[in-house]
């Protein structure tokens, strides 16, 4: 059940996108999301969708694999569409008993749905093409200026990468605990949502205890390997800009320009 989530996973492949500097991909994704909310008309969405399609082709990640990530937000998507469709006031185009659909509602629902879909596809494409470590490295470097404001940037990045490393281990542990409890007659499969949620509590307690124990062990192992924070640390894989990164930046600027121009139509 937890394994179905594809958002945040890495899809190993050898493409230009995979080799790009994580900083470019991170800022590019952020810019893309901001642009999505600047878009005013159909032209803008068309540009955004076409650009994303081209990038997906470049990434060599199968389209079906990316779309599967949408499954997890389908309920959210339906809710957004329904609320916008039925609750927006304006000129009515369809009326039946208490249901009233307006012209503004249709266009709002449409634009929200497209935005949401493109947003999810765009950001999951970034995580598909970037390893967790590159991602945290990129974030550490992009947030670097915040160090002057005493934000513990290195520590946050380190915590994130350790969290990512322990996700599969804790999933395995959850599985083990569930099986051990099922072997003793615990029931996780029948009953309504509330009953199932209640059945999860006895799993969480041992999971937390073991997570704390692991954290203690890991902290000791890190200290034994001379870890003492970000000060004086060197990097095994330092981030360096290459030629493709420059080209990517040009493409990003072009995309911003296109989006801004599309607002005028």
């Amino acid at each position: 059940m937890i394994r179905d989530i594809t958002i945040g996973q890495y899809y190993p492949a050898d493409s230009i996108l995979h080799r790009l500097d994580p900083r470019v991909k991170l800022s590019g994704t952020l810019i893309y999301i901001v642009c999505l909310f600047l878009v005013k008309n159909l032209w803008g969405y068309l540009i955004a969708a076409l650009c994303l399609g081209a990038i997906i082709r470049l990434s060599k990640v199968p389209f079906g694999f990316i779309v599967r990530g949408l499954k997890t937000i389908i309920i959210l998507l339906l809710f957004t569409v329904a609320f916008n469709l039925f609750l927006t006031s304006g000129t009515p185009i369809f009326e039946w008993k208490f249901i009233r659909i307006t012209k503004e509602g249709v266009s709002l629902a449409f634009s929200m749905a497209v935005r949401l879909i493109l947003l999810i596809l765009g950001s999951s494409l970034m995580t598909f093409t970037t390893t967790p470590n590159q991602l945290t490295d990129g974030m550490e470097s992009l947030l670097g200026p915040l160090k002057k404001l005493h934000v513990p940037v290195h520590e946050i990045a380190m915590m994130m990468s350790i969290a990512l490393r322990f996700i599969p281990i804790l999933l395995e542990e959850t599985d083990k605990i569930m099986k051990a409890q099922q072997a003793r007659g615990a029931d996780f499969e029948t009953g309504g949502i509330i009953k199932r949620a209640k059945a999860m509590v006895p799993i969480l307690v041992p999971l937390f205890i073991s997570a704390f124990r692991r954290a203690g062990d890991l902290a000791m192992a890190m200290e034994a390997r001379c870890y003492r924070g970000g000060e004086g640390r060197t990097k095994m894989k330092p981030l360096k800009y290459h030629k493709p990164d420059g080209i990517a930046w040009v493409a990003i600027v072009c995309f911003i320009a296109l989006t801004v121009v599309s607002r005028r139509f």
């Binding site: 470590n133 192992a221 390997r225 003492r228 095994m236």
Partner: protein, 284 residues
């Protein structure tokens, strides 16, 4: 030259109640004095609660002595400004391989130690390659540690320590969570590092089979060093070992029992080969 030198080392775990009053004092280490020479392979034996893990943590300066002194590579572990030098010269491998691997890729994990020491980038890559080759895990450098077996993970952890170029490795029950194949794999790696890279090895274990190749065996019980000597010397004292709730290797015990029943076998037989040799000599 001495790698580790302990002088009347005492360590107490002090348990306090909620108001901070001392409830009880457990003496985990009781006047331990020992010397470990550079390049030696030393095994420390002891059943649970004998203080062997506490001693290991002292060597890595994770714990400080309550009384007495401990010198690691000539440095007093109580000197705070030497802390990182001590940890660099005496690396430590722990029991659970999962809880000591930090990165999501094997080579990045091996690079973690040198990164912390501030080693330049090109030098880190050289060290990572060399130590991964030394433990025979170079082909797995771009794998995720989650997909490796227990023995392989533990070898990656050892490579992570080797990349810091320590003079001494302390292994705290590195095989306790592994299957027999993984155990053999790890012990073979440790022996090779000791022979080829001349690293001092301090292996803490409760598996007797793992200590027969050591240069020296130290037996601990209740926070004290109770026996010291070569494996052969130690294992010829079967009765004494049993008193400290230790098992001797099966073949050693068999030879011992046979000898008790009147067969003229030599003391301290450690391997099946030695045993069959001795039996052959008896037949002639």
């Amino acid at each position: 030259m001495k790698m580790i030198e302990a002088k009347k080392l005492i360590f107490e775990y002090i348990r306090r109640d909620e108001e901070g009053n001392v409830e009880s004092i457990d003496k985990a280490l009781d006047e331990i004095s020992l010397d470990i020479e550079k390049g030696d392979f030393v095994a420390i034996l002891g059943h649970n609660g004998s203080g062997k893990s506490t001693l290991a943590k002292q060597i890595n300066a994770i714990l400080m002595p309550t009384e007495g002194t401990l010198y690691v590579n000539g440095m007093d572990t109580k000197e705070e400004d030497k802390l990182w030098d001590i940890r660099q010269s005496a690396g430590m491998v722990f029991q659970n391989p999962d809880n000591q691997i930090i990165a999501t890729v094997v080579e990045e994990d091996v690079g973690f130690g040198p990164e912390n020491l501030g080693v330049p980038t090109e030098e880190i890559w050289k060290r990572v390659e060399k130590s991964l080759r030394a433990v025979g895990m170079y082909e797995y450098r771009d794998h995720s540690p989650n997909k490796l077996s227990g023995g392989q993970k533990q070898r990656v952890a050892i490579a992570g320590i080797m990349a810091m170029k320590p003079q001494c490795i302390v292994l705290d029950e590195p095989t306790a969570m592994l299957d027999p194949d993984g155990r053999k794999e790890v012990i073979r790696t440790i022996r090779e590092l000791n022979k080829e890279e001349k690293v001092t090895v301090l292996l803490i274990t409760h598996y007797m089979e793992e200590v027969i190749h050591a240069d020296k065996v130290i037996v601990m019980d209740d926070g004290k060093v109770v026996m010291q000597g070569t494996p052969r010397e130690i294992f010829s004292r079967v009765e004494e070992l049993k008193r400290y709730r230790m098992d001797v290797p099966q073949i050693t015990e068999l030879a011992y029992e046979l000898k008790q029943k009147g067969m003229p076998l030599p003391d301290g037989i450690l391997t099946i080969e030695e045993f069959t040799e001795a039996m052959k000599r008896l037949e002639q």
